[in-house]
């Protein structure tokens, strides 16, 4: 049934695209789960592709969604990521990427195609789906991979990034999520890889009534996405209220074209939305510039931003731990310093 639907609509190129990765490790046959949102690939998908290519073998992309129309753009983007192959699986049950129908599709595709590795982003979606796939395949997943030594050996942070652990996997199938901030995104290539819908047909999902999607509430924002922005301005408890968060942090972010972040204290006090939290329990980011305003620098917060290239801290407490990691530290009252900084940046840009 699905076969007749999907065979016709997506044009396929007959040529296989060139892969930049070395072919020395003949045994590596990697796949990468390409996360999409509202029809487009999320930025972290391109970082996961880079991690998968590091393994040194063939890399097949896997796209999963509701129907062809909703995946059209994501397919076009995926074809240019320098992949060797692209598998597309769509079915009505796969809408919203619920873990219950999606995980079996991935698990079956791995078995059917003999993939040795499955990579994906360490995003909320990757963290939701990958462990379920691991449970189905009975393998020990490796989360939040920062670097890859060889096809079996992976490095990842533990203890909120205060220790770096290197592990060698004995599993036949290596399932891992890649930390977006430590992998460069795969750059679009001239050549395009072929799309194979047929190879993913009739692979899961079973009829599932286990969980139903009810609704979604997304924070609308014109700003760059927090996890991929080159510049991030974050506010903490020191900002004191939602009003002053809006009147200090937002103008500074605007003048720098930056994404907005927040510490847990700011989120819990209602100054900013949950999804803006930077830290062990929020997002882990590594922008070129991170400006921490009124943030003391607790271990959990540092876990989310200490890989930033340049860290600027503005805090009135000279002993705040944030100054131990900041490249540029200014001990000052943020309510005076931030407006002044905004003015001077504006002047400097002219």
């Amino acid at each position: 049934m699905f076969a007749s639907l999907s065979r016709t609509a997506i044009p396929r190129t007959s040529t296989r695209c060139f892969s930049a990765s070395a072919r020395s490790s003949a045994e590596v046959n990697a796949a990468v789960f390409l996360e999409d949102k509202a029809g487009e690939l999320v930025p972290a998908a391109a970082n996961a592709v880079t991690a998968a290519k590091k393994l040194g073998g063939k890399v097949t992309g896997i796209l999963i969604g509701k129907d062809e129309a909703s995946l059209e753009k994501a397919i076009a983007m995926s074809r240019k990521l320098g992949l060797d192959n692209l598998l597309v699986r769509h079915a009505a049950a796969l809408e919203h990427a619920l873990a219950e129908p999606t995980a079996p599709v991935l698990a079956e595709l791995i078995k059917k195609n003999g993939f040795t590795h499955l990579a994906g982003p360490h995003s909320a979606l990757g963290k939701n789906i990958f462990p379920r796939v691991a449970g189905l395949l009975d393998v020990q997943q490796i989360s939040d991979v920062m670097s890859i030594q060889d096809a079996d050996t992976f490095t990842r942070p533990v203890y909120a990034g205060n220790a770096i652990s290197t592990v060698r996997s004995k599993d036949a199938i290596k399932l891992f999520t890649a930390r977006a901030s430590t992998w460069e995104p795969a750059q679009p290539t001239e050549s395009e890889c072929s799309v194979d819908v047929a190879a993913a047909e009739n692979v899961g999902p079973g009829a599932s009534t286990l969980a139903a999607w009810i609704s979604e509430e997304l924070v609308k924002s014109e700003r760059p996405d927090l996890s991929s922005a080159p510049t991030v301005v974050s506010g903490g408890r020191g900002v004191k209220s939602k009003e002053s968060f809006d009147s200090t942090i937002i103008p500074l972010a605007d003048v720098l074209g930056a994404a907005i972040g927040a510490s847990r204290a700011a989120v819990d006090s209602g100054y900013a939305d949950n999804s803006l939290q930077v830290g062990q329990t929020g997002k882990v980011i590594a922008p070129a510039l991170y400006i921490a305003v009124g943030i003391s620098g607790a271990i959990q917060h540092l876990a989310g931003m200490k890989d930033s290239k340049t860290i600027v801290a503005i805090n009135k407490d000279a002993d705040a731990p944030i100054f131990q990691v900041a490249d540029v530290g200014l001990v000052a009252d943020l309510f005076e310093a931030v407006p002044e900084l905004v003015k001077k940046i504006e002047a400097a840009k002219k």
Partner: protein, 260 residues
């Protein structure tokens, strides 16, 4: 007439003993130093215990029992007592050897075996342990059991009569709401609730609550690690600490860094 079967629900809450979240860990030549360190209940698991107790406070008649379980060395029974003092009814301690590495996969397998014994209707656990930071056990167990899952919950609404649970979960960019039929698995995010402190009388009472000890072999689950630890290092230190005197210097440094 025959009485109707009791429509009671059982809750299972897996908990882990981890380093206290405020402790700055030290990495020695043999990895992370654990001797003499202050350890406690994993913060996300504390939220899971709290949620289980709150669900029962809301639906007193409908929830039969809250069982907490921990897999770990002898000292893990301390965190089970903490959970009992918060309001759980009984505890199971699967006692492993002090130096045994128990990976998330092994924990998920052990929990699968325990689910078989205890037949809970809802398993609530933390979204991740703050030592290993894997965030895997909930999803693995759900996959093994074929149960629905709601990870990173920030709101839980249990309908005991219909045996369904509606969960708001934190996703990138906002919130998503799911409805699941029981039995199901929920992992807790920070925003779900504010865990209570155990009162002294409750701590005393918790000492008398049943705590069953089990050996890993009794579960017939394979605990063999799949990952070999190659090394554990401290992360490269940052060269921070340089303070400037004025906003002008901040602007100058930003120019230097090439962001202006």
């Amino acid at each position: 007439m025959r009485p109707t079967a009791p429509n009671w629900l059982k809750l299972l809450v897996p908990v882990k003993r981890t380093v206290d979240y405020a402790v700055k860990i030290r990495v020695g030549p043999k990895g992370v130093e654990t001797k003499g360190r202050h350890d406690g209940l994993n913060p996300f698991d504390e939220i899971a215990v709290e949620e289980a107790v709150r669900l029962r406070e809301k639906a007193k008649e409908a929830i039969e029992k809250i069982t907490v379980v921990s897999i770990g060395p002898a000292k893990a029974s301390e965190v089970l007592r903490t959970a009992l003092a918060m309001g759980a009814d009984d505890a199971i301690h699967v006692e492993t050897k002090e130096d045994d590495v128990v990976e998330p996969l092994a924990v998920a397998r052990a929990l699968k075996a325990l689910v078989g014994q205890e037949s809970p209707d809802l398993v609530i656990m933390g979204k991740q342990a703050i030592d290993d930071d894997s965030s895997q056990v909930g999803g693995m167990l759900a996959g093994m059991l074929g149960w629905p899952q709601a990870n990173f919950a920030s709101e839980v609404d249990l309908d005991t009569a219909a045996k369904t649970v509606t969960v708001s979960r934190e996703i990138d960019g906002g919130l998503e709401t799911l409805k699941m039929s029981l039995p199901a698995i929920i992992t807790t995010d920070l925003r779900l609730n504010q865990p209570r402190y155990a009162s002294l009388p409750n701590i005393m009472k918790a000492k008398k609550k049943p705590l069953k000890k089990m050996k890993p072999e009794e579960l017939q689950a394979d605990f063999t690690p799949r990952l070999e630890q190659v090394d554990v290092k401290a992360p490269p230190p940052r060269k921070g600490g340089a303070k400037v005197e004025s906003v002008d210097e901040v602007v100058a440094k930003l120019k230097e860094a090439g962001v202006l």
